[in-house]
Every structure is written in structure tokens, then in C-alpha cells.
Symmetry: C2
């Protein structure tokens, strides 16, 4: 079986190799001339100098009368001055100052004599209430240097300076070629083995934010000649070419060979995770980049390299990447083989910005949908401990992140539903929920990493929920529990219960799917095993761990497992049969400091509202405490 090993070039060296080469072949952007009225957001080629002054004539700055200032010098409350019709000209704001006048008296300061004359009781000095020529912009002044991205105000200033058209960088056109035999256009009903092509949509959105336009070519199967032909077409039509998938070194990976045949491969394999199997090359003087097929890997390469390719097209320095310091909520272990991009969610709590690592798989696009930023673990670092200060590259404005209610703990779909109700109300904060199990909630609230979290922890000695755990792990009343819901836990099995499962003890003969350590449902499982005289070793699949009720339901529905413990609403969602086992108390553990926090209060207000109870009834398996 063919497999060529990849290089493992450090990212900086890989970029340097690409950019040095692009410079040597003269890669640079083209320009076009556009109306300034349509130029907002565009990048100007050359410095812009004002053609005319603004204002370009002496203009009245007020509604009032224009006068010769010296006529008013004697005016005071004791010695009012009378201005006859010969002494003034009525002007509105913006009117040119009439010849012979050098000041304007505001309408508010005129005492109307009723006969066409006015009295005034204070003087004006020369050029008072006049916008003199060039007050805002002087002809010849530089309005913006070369390479400036035009803001709305800059467009206004250019027009004010008499510039109506301007040479700007053309938006580069980036060709995206999705490849793969198994790739299909977006559909809600894919066949087994079909992979929905969504990477090009992700790239399109990212490229737009980099300032590039996109042409997405049709999906090309894994045939070298076809992909090569598509790359040649794209090289003719576009400024930059991206080949999606096929960038590794397997038997169906052709990107590297194709670029080598058409031009030059500069790098194949970069020491980043995810993102390693990327190809950086050039053909016809244009960058050709082979992106990994896994979406997260591709996004890292887009963010790190393609964004800088576009910056070079514009002749601009690299994109500004805003970073913040944050406290790491959970230990991260990494490898010395690469630098690793760990997506994190962020939230401010007790004055500290807390970074919680998200799932690290290269195929997990949802790790990017939830990411507020990324922690780059350098290649020479094997790991970072919880509680350490780390630098996070932001994906979102910090203020958006500041207003976050952090809910960390046991998974229940109701948390997302509450968040949605809050969003519908236009709440001025967002809810960031992480599923780390009930024990995870205990640790997160204890350590100040979450405002609150869902817990359902069965004390197997007393049969009571939650209380004894909270007393043991967070003594001293620092945290409180507030009522949540009662919900039914049970065994989920295939529709129609084909294996005839009647009670928990029946899992002994089945392929089981379990929950992760620390989950309330895992603790329930262990309790039920003990009650039934079973040991973990007797359970096929005990070590097959999932993080949510829906993930367990999905695997049973897919036939990967025969049974698993979970809540009724998940079973209902997947049309599974459900064997109820117990009612449990799902509560919220809240750090006492935040009990009166408006975000926490708004969350609870929704939870306890009559409207939300209706939603719970629809979902099924819940009972209001």
C-alpha cells in the first residue's frame, strides 16, 4: 500500500519558504479604479492627497447674519449696536460668506427690531462662526497613506477633498476545488459513505473576512487527471488556488504530485496539529495550497497561512491577531512533535478570564463553532497545567466574551433550550455550556471556573441526590444548589426492543455504551452494576465512553451498541425504546457569589417560567421540581 511520509516543518519555516518563493516570482495584487462612493472597505494602492480644500470656500458655520466683524466691536449690554439692512446679509449654515463680510452672528444672538434691523449686545471677532477655507482638509494634505483600508469616514474625507475615483486593490479571486470520491453537495439525506461537502462554505466565509472573493469549482473525484485539469482551470481564472482534501500522502492523495507537475511544491507537511498534511506550492506565479480534508485541520491552515497569502496580495503586513491572557481551566497534554492549536471557550468570572479547552479532534467542526479563541501550545511544550496563565488568540471581540454565563457540568438538552429562550428575549449576554459531567460541575464551581452547572449525583448510601457531594467537595456553604427538574433515567434500546431488555441486569449480555467518568449517569451505572452484582469487566463496552445523552442515543440508533443509560428526552428524539429505571433530581449548583448575578437570575427566571415548562413537556421525561 503506497504511503509517502510527510515532512514536519515548523510553521514559521514553512511560511517563510512559501513567502520567499512568492516574492521571488513576483506575486502581487492587481488594481482597479472605483468610485469613492463605492469604495468603503477597499484597500487603496497609493497615498491619497486632497485635490481641494474642505470647505473650499468660507462658509457660514451657523444660521444667522454675516457682517464685517469691526462693525460689532462696540457692542455690549450697555451699548447695543444696531445693524441696519445695509450692514448684514442673512445666511444659513453652509452658505458662502458674502463679499465684504468676515464673521457671522448666530440667529439666537439677534434682537429683531421689527423694521429689518437687528440689535446686538456682544461683538464678534473676525472669522467667528465661519468655517474658513481648509478648516477640515487642506488641498495637498495626505488623507490616507498607501495600503489604507477605507473606513466610512475616510470615504467621506476623500469626497470632501474632491476625490471622486480611486485606485484600489482588486479583491483577489480564490478558486476552491473540493475533491474526493465520497464527497457530495449539501443534502439532508446523505447515503452511507457520503461525506457532505461543507469545507468550501467554511472557506468562503473565512476568505470573505480576509478580503477575498471565492469561486467554488464542482466537486472533483479522486482522479489525478481530473484534479490536475481543475487546478489548471483555476490557475487561469483565479489569483490563488486551494485544493480541498487529498493533501496527505495516501494512495488517493494527489495534490502534491499535481502541484509538482504544474509548478513547485515548497512544503509538504507542517509541524502543526491539526493541519499537518498541508501542501504549500506555486504554479504560474500563483500560490496553490493543498488543504487537509478534515475541516478543523483546514481551518488552522486557512487561518495561519491563507490569511497571510491574501495579506501579501494586498501588500499589507500580516493580519492583526488579538490575544488575551486567560487562566486555563483544564490540564492540556501535547506532543513535542508539533505545535498544537487547542480551541477554547472563554468567559469572565470573578475578574478572571477562564479558558476551557474544547474537543481536540480534527473532524470536530463544532469545536470551532463554540471556540472563542485558540491556545497555541508550542512544539517544545509537553503540556500546560490547569490554573496556569495562557495566551489566547481571540476569534471574537473581547466584550462579546465578557458577557458570558458559564454553565459547566452535566449534560441536559434543557440548558441549550434555556439559552435559546434567553436569546429570543434579547438578553445582553450569552450562555456558554460545557458538558463535563456532574463531578465536573462540582470542580468547576469549586475552582471558580463556572458560574453554575447541572448536577445529578446519587448518594448510593442515602439514596439522596447532590447534597452530600456538595457538602464533601465544597464545604462551608460556598456553593448552593437550586431546584432544576426531575427527569427519568432509563435504558435506551433499539426501537421495538428486539433483544427484549427488561431491567438493568440484562446489559450483561449486550454491547453497552457508557458515559464518561464523573458523569452523574456513569455514577448511576456503577451503582446499578453493584446492586445487580455485576463488575465493569463483565460489561462489553463499559469503556466505550460518550459525553452526552444524545451521543449515547445516536450510537444505539446506529447499531454501534445495544443499550446505554440516558434520559427519556434523548431516547424520544431518536425514536428509541426506553426502559425507565429511576427518577432523578437534576439541580443547578451555583457559586454563592453569583446567586444574585443578573445572568444567573435571568437563567433561572426562564427555567421556572410557565412558557419553559411547556417546552419541557414537549421534550418529554421531565417533571418540574
Amino acid at each position: 500500500m503506497k504511503y509517502n511520509y510527510l515532512n514536519n516543518l515548523p510553521l514559521d519555516e514553512a511560511k517563510q519558504k512559501l513567502f520567499d518563493h512568492l516574492t521571488s516570482v513576483g506575486f502581487a495584487g492587481r488594481t482597479e479604479t472605483v468610485a469613492v462612493t463605492d469604495a468603503c472597505g477597499r484597500v487603496i494602492k497609493n497615498a491619497a492627497y486632497a485635490h481641494i480644500c474642505s470647505p473650499h470656500y468660507n462658509a457660514s458655520a451657523m444660521d444667522g447674519v454675516a457682517v464685517k466683524a469691526e462693525k460689532t466691536f462696540a457692542a455690549s449690554e450697555r451699548t447695543p449696536v444696531t445693524l441696519t439692512e445695509a450692514d448684514y446679509v442673512t445666511v444659513d449654515t453652509g452658505d458662502p460668506l458674502p463679499d465684504g463680510c468676515d464673521a457671522v452672528i448666530m440667529v439666537e444672538d439677534l434682537i429683531d427690531s421689527g423694521d429689518g434691523s437687528y440689535q446686538i449686545i456682544s461683538s464678534v471677532y473676525p472669522w467667528q462662526n465661519v468655517r474658513q477655507v481648509g478648516e477640515d482638509i487642506c488641498m495637498g494634505d495626505m488623507i490616507a497613506p498607501s495600503g489604507t483600508t477605507l473606513t466610512p469616514a475616510l470615504c467621506g474625507a476623500l469626497l470632501a477633498g474632491g476625490i471622486t475615483e480611486i485606485e484600489v486593490m482588486k479583491r483577489p479571486l480564490v478558486g476552491v476545488i473540493p475533491t474526493g470520491d465520497e464527497i457530495v453537495p449539501p443534502t439532508s439525506d446523505p447515503q452511507k459513505g457520503d461525506i457532505i461537502e461543507f469545507n468550501s462554505t467554511v472557506f468562503k466565509g473565512m476568505l470573505d473576512s480576509f478580503g477575498a472573493s471565492v469561486k467554488v469549482y464542482p466537486i472533483t473525484p479522486d482522479k489525478k487527471e481530473l484534479i490536475s485539469a481543475a487546478v489548471e482551470t483555476a490557475l487561469n481564472e483565479c489569483d490563488v488556488v486551494l485544493v480541498s482534501a487529498g493533501s496527505s500522502a495516501g494512495r488517493d492523495d494527489y495534490t502534491s504530485e499535481i502541484i509538482a507537475a504544474l509548478g513547485t511544491v515548497l512544503v509538504h507537511g507542517i509541524a502543526v496539529k491539526p493541519g499537518k498534511p498541508a501542501v504549500l506550492g506555486e504554479a504560474c506565479g500563483k500560490p496553490v495550497i493543498g488543504l487537509p480534508g478534515y475541516p478543523v485541520s483546514a481551518i488552522v491552515i486557512m487561518d495561519e497561512i491563507v490569511s497571510e497569502v491574501i495579506a501579501r496580495y494586498y501588500g499589507k503586513p500580516n493580519p492583526t491577531r488579538t490575544t488575551v491572557k486567560a487562566t486555563l481551566a483544564k490540564r492540556i497534554v501535547s506532543s513535542l512533535k508539533y505545535s498544537e492549536y487547542v480551541r477554547v471557550s472563554l468567559g469572565r468570572i470573578g475578574g478572571k478570564l477562564i479558558a476551557s479547552p474544547l474537543p481536540r479532534g480534527a473532524g470536530v467542526i463544532t469545536s470551532f463553532t463554540k471556540a472563542d479563541g485558540v491556545l497555541i501550545v508550542p512544539q517544545n511544550c509537553e503540556g500546560i497545567e490547569a490554573g496556569e496563565e495562557v495566551e489566547i488568540r481571540l476569534y471574537k471581540p473581547l466584550n462579546e466574551i465578557e458577557n458570558t454565563l458559564i454553565v459547566t457540568g452535566s449534560h441536559d438538552p434543557l440548558i441549550d433550550e434555556v439559552a435559546n429562550f434567553l436569546a429570543e428575549q434579547g438578553a445582553p449576554f450569552r450562555v456558554c455550556s460545557t458538558h463535563v459531567g456532574s463531578m465536573g460541575a462540582i470542580y468547576a464551581v469549586r475552582d471558580g471556573h463556572a458560574h453554575m452547572g447541572g448536577i445529578h449525583l446519587l448518594d448510593t448510601e442515602t439514596g439522596e441526590y447532590n447534597k452530600s457531594y456538595v457538602e464533601k467537595y465544597i464545604p462551608g456553604g460556598k456553593a448552593v444548589t437550586v431546584k432544576g427538574v426531575k427527569r427519568v433515567q432509563g435504558l435506551m434500546v433499539a426501537p421495538g426492543n428486539p433483544l427484549g431488555v427488561k431491567a438493568f441486569k440484562d446489559v450483561r449480555n449486550l454491547r453497552y455504551v457508557n458515559r464518561q467518568r464523573g458523569a452523574g449517569t456513569r455514577i448511576l451505572c456503577d451503582y446499578l452494576l453493584e446492586q445487580n452484582g455485576l463488575s465493569p469487566e463483565q460489561i462489553n463496552g463499559y469503556r466505550n465512553e460518550e459525553f452526552t445523552h444524545t451521543a449515547v442515543a445516536a450510537l444505539i440508533a446506529a447499531g454501534n451498541a445495544d443499550a446505554g443509560l440516558g434520559i427519556y428526552s434523548a431516547a424520544k428524539m431518536y425514536g428509541l425504546d426506553f426502559i425507565p429505571i429511576c427518577d432523578e433530581t437534576y439541580e443547578f449548583l451555583i457559586d454563592g457569589k453569583y446567586l444574585d448575578d443578573p445572568m444567573v437570575q435571568a437563567f433561572l427566571d426562564v427555567l421556572y417560567s410557565a412558557e419553559f415548562q411547556k417546552r419541557l413537556a414537549e421534550m418529554g421525561g421531565y417533571e418540574v421540581c
Copy 2:
């Protein structure tokens, strides 16, 4: 002369009045259904739930062979296991796991026996190297709550979850009606009294950033019936109507009356500066806003009120406004009559973020082009001292601001030219220059408010430049001067020198235009007056102060003054006659701490480069020191 006085409602009350009323008339956005592939940046109406799992089948996570895991359990370096062709199926990444298999062995871990069989020396556990159903997204999971703005990654997740179309908020259409008899479309050759209509271009750019589309109507003259008809047309075609200019209470200001006739005026006059003469109203269930004609006033109202009108259309909370703490570089005096929006430029120096107030006139669009943020001086505050910590609302990302070389001091067009050379080189920082005169440079560098600044301070006792001033004001060698240019100072007069000016003493009989206190050129003026036995009182226009050489030249060219002191390059730019008076030494004063700063070094490298000397020769009047 008609003039109705305006209200002076605090901003928060004005907004509340508008938004309460809009709620009462049911103002809300409409929706449309779009393809998810085109939905990036759109705001979803309802929560989005996954239709399918992703992956929706068990997929190989690697290139390799699929096996039944239990076949591999015995494998070790001492006891390799042989997999015959019956034991495995060759798979590529993404391929469905064949029936009967539950794990994948990576191609890198296979030892090819050459006869179709492989040896392995380590085992795989069930589901290893398999992306199980739902690994990324589970059917039924909420991908995004109601009101989410779709990011590229979210569009990817929606497609992965089998969602191909989605209901999003329509972009609101905002009608902009420019009004005014004197308003003309953009031109580079306006007649006296013509005002170039650039506000609608500024609004279009701002509205785009708020998420709105714009229809700009033709310029409508100051006729009540015509403006009223335009508003009615816009109300038919748009979701929000903005009337530009005519919002005050003068004889040609009709906006308020027109809105009152068509609907309801809620507010006329707001206690903000600039921005006071705004009208907030409603007609046909739609917001109708009268914007002040002065661009800066209009921008404040756009930013504070129209942005929130658009947020309400989307059902979103108000836009996130990022703020930072900064140290105020210069004292600000404000009034108790209003809250004032003072635009500031920002830069980081010696660990401190320094906010320098920009010109405060309502007509000065360039105060917005240079603004990095705004300091809002509350209504109950009469002023803020230099050095106080203030809160700045940012207009630009903080990282863009962090990398700023602050050049504060004497005006010379060469500073902009150096900045432009740096921009052309792709320098990873920007230059922020403020014209506060040579003494301003001394104070700014002394107080740590600037990295460097231009100075040309004549010691009238020694005839030497700069040295004695620096020694006096910044003793102890904390700051150093480095060579800049020699430049010619002289009197600028109208082309052809119609008044026959021969020497400085001739200004006695002329209308003079002066520079501001603290400017090196002002000090030169005072010195020349003394030398010629003249007193300031004898000079007509001594108190007419401008901040730059080009502003002085512009006023002489416009005929506002007969003569003024300035540098040759400014006279040349305006085609003025020039009577040389002296050569002066223009140097850069640099805080010693920053002499080796890469930004300062890059600035000086450009200044001393042969290419830049050519540019100076083109500008004229300079000599390399």
C-alpha cells in the same frame, strides 16, 4: 427670522422614548429562507437543530485496514499477529466501516508481508481510529440558538448536520435622503457655495457594518413638499428612513415638521455634542430619523441610535461596544449642557495607552478618519485633566492600535510622507502624527505621551536651534535630538506678490495669518516682530491661528489673509509666491528609551534613505542635514 428652539433630552431618555414607541407599533424584522452555503454573516431566526448526525455513519478516521478489534488483541512485538486477506478490508479516511469491523489499523502500523497479508505488533481496541456516528454532531442537538450571527464554522456545522436551507433575518433596507439647496453630488470641481454630498457614503459604510443595506435617494432641495414626497417614497420602499440635514430648527429645516405630518416626532434635540439637532420619529410603523447635516454630528447619531435601531430590527441586544482604559494626554473642558463625544487617537507608549484628543468641530470629518476611539464626557462633568485615566470606546481593534509610533509635534508634510513610505514597505506598525507645534513635542516627549516629535525651536539669544530648549525642559539627557532636515521658512503671499512684500517688516500693513502658540513658526514670528520693532497689536490677524503650514497657505490662496509664515513646500503646493526669510533646523526629539525601538529606527531609516531624499527634493525647500 424663524427659529424654534430644540429640546435637550439626555441621550438615554431619547433612546428609551424612541425604542418604547417602536416596540408599541410592532417594529420588527422580516425573514427569508436562504441556502446555508450563502448564509455566512446572516442572523438566524430560530434555533437550529441538527437533522442528522455527523458523521452519519461509522467512518474510518485513517488510511489503513478495517478489522474486528478482537482479532488483534494478542498482537505484541514478541507475538506479531498476521492478518490474512480474509481478516481485513483496505479503507481510506472517510470510508464507511465495513460490516463486521469495529476498528481501523493505520497504514503506518502495517508490516506488508508481500503476499497480501500484513503483520501487526500492537492491538487496536474496539472503535479505535473510527469516527463513530455522531462524533461531531448528534441529530437533535442545538447547533445555534435563535438570533445567532452565522460564522463560517457555524455554516459548516449546519451543513454537516444536514441543514441545507435556513430562515434568516432579511437585511433591513435603509433609505437615505440627502437634502439641501447647496448640496451637490461628489465632484472635484465644486462651485463656491456648493457642498459636496459625502454624508450618504459615510452612512452607507456604517450601515453595512450594522448589517443593513442602503438605498440612497437623489439629493432633494430644501422644499418641504419635495422632501415630504421623498420621505413617503422611502417609507414605501424601506424599513428605516434617514433624512440627512434639515434636522435643526432654522428657516430651511423641515424634517421635524414632515415627520410630524406623516407620523410621530418623539424627540427633537438631544443633549449630546456633536449631534444635538437630531429628530427621532416614526411613520407607517417605521423609524424615521432626522440626522444633522454636519458629518461628525450625524456620525454620532448613527453610532449611538441608528445602530441600535438596526439591532432592534434583528431582535438582538445592543451592539457590543469595546472600551479600554487610557491616559488622557491633554486637558479637556466640556459643558454641563450636554455629554460630549471627543474623538481621540490612541497609542501605547511605555506600557500606557495614551489618548490624544482630536479636533472637536462638528464639521471636521478628518477627526473621525484619525479617530481610534471616542471619549464620552458625561453631561455632569465640566472637564477632565491631562493624565487622568479615562474610558475610551474603541473604533478599531486594540492590537492595531498597540503597534503605533506616536509622533507628536511640529507639523511638516514630510512626516506623512515617511508614514507612507513605511506603509508601502508593509511595516507592521502605523504612524500616528499630531500637529501640536514644537513646544507640544517637548511636552509630549517629556510626559511620555509620544515616542518622538518634530521640533524647530529658535533660541533667539544664541541663534541656535532646539538644543537650549531641550536642555531647559527635559534636563538630564532623558531625550535626544536626531537630525532631520534643513528647510526654508519664509512669507507666503498671493501669486505674483500683488502687494509687493519684500521683507517680514511689511506684514505690518497686511492681513496676517498666524500659527498657534507653541509652534516653532510662531516663535519665529515673535522673534521677527521683535527684531523689526513691531508688537503683536500692530499685526492685523496676529490672533488668527492655524495649526499647519498648509492651512496657512490655504487661507492666503483663498484671500482670507495676505501673508503668513511657512515652509517653502506648502507655498509651492498652493502656487503661492514665497519670500525666503531663514533656513531652519528641523530635528526629531526622541525619548532616549525609544531610540532603539524598531518603529523609531524604521522611521529614521526611511527618513535618511536615498529614495526619500528624492521625494523631499520633489516637495521642495528641504536640504538634508
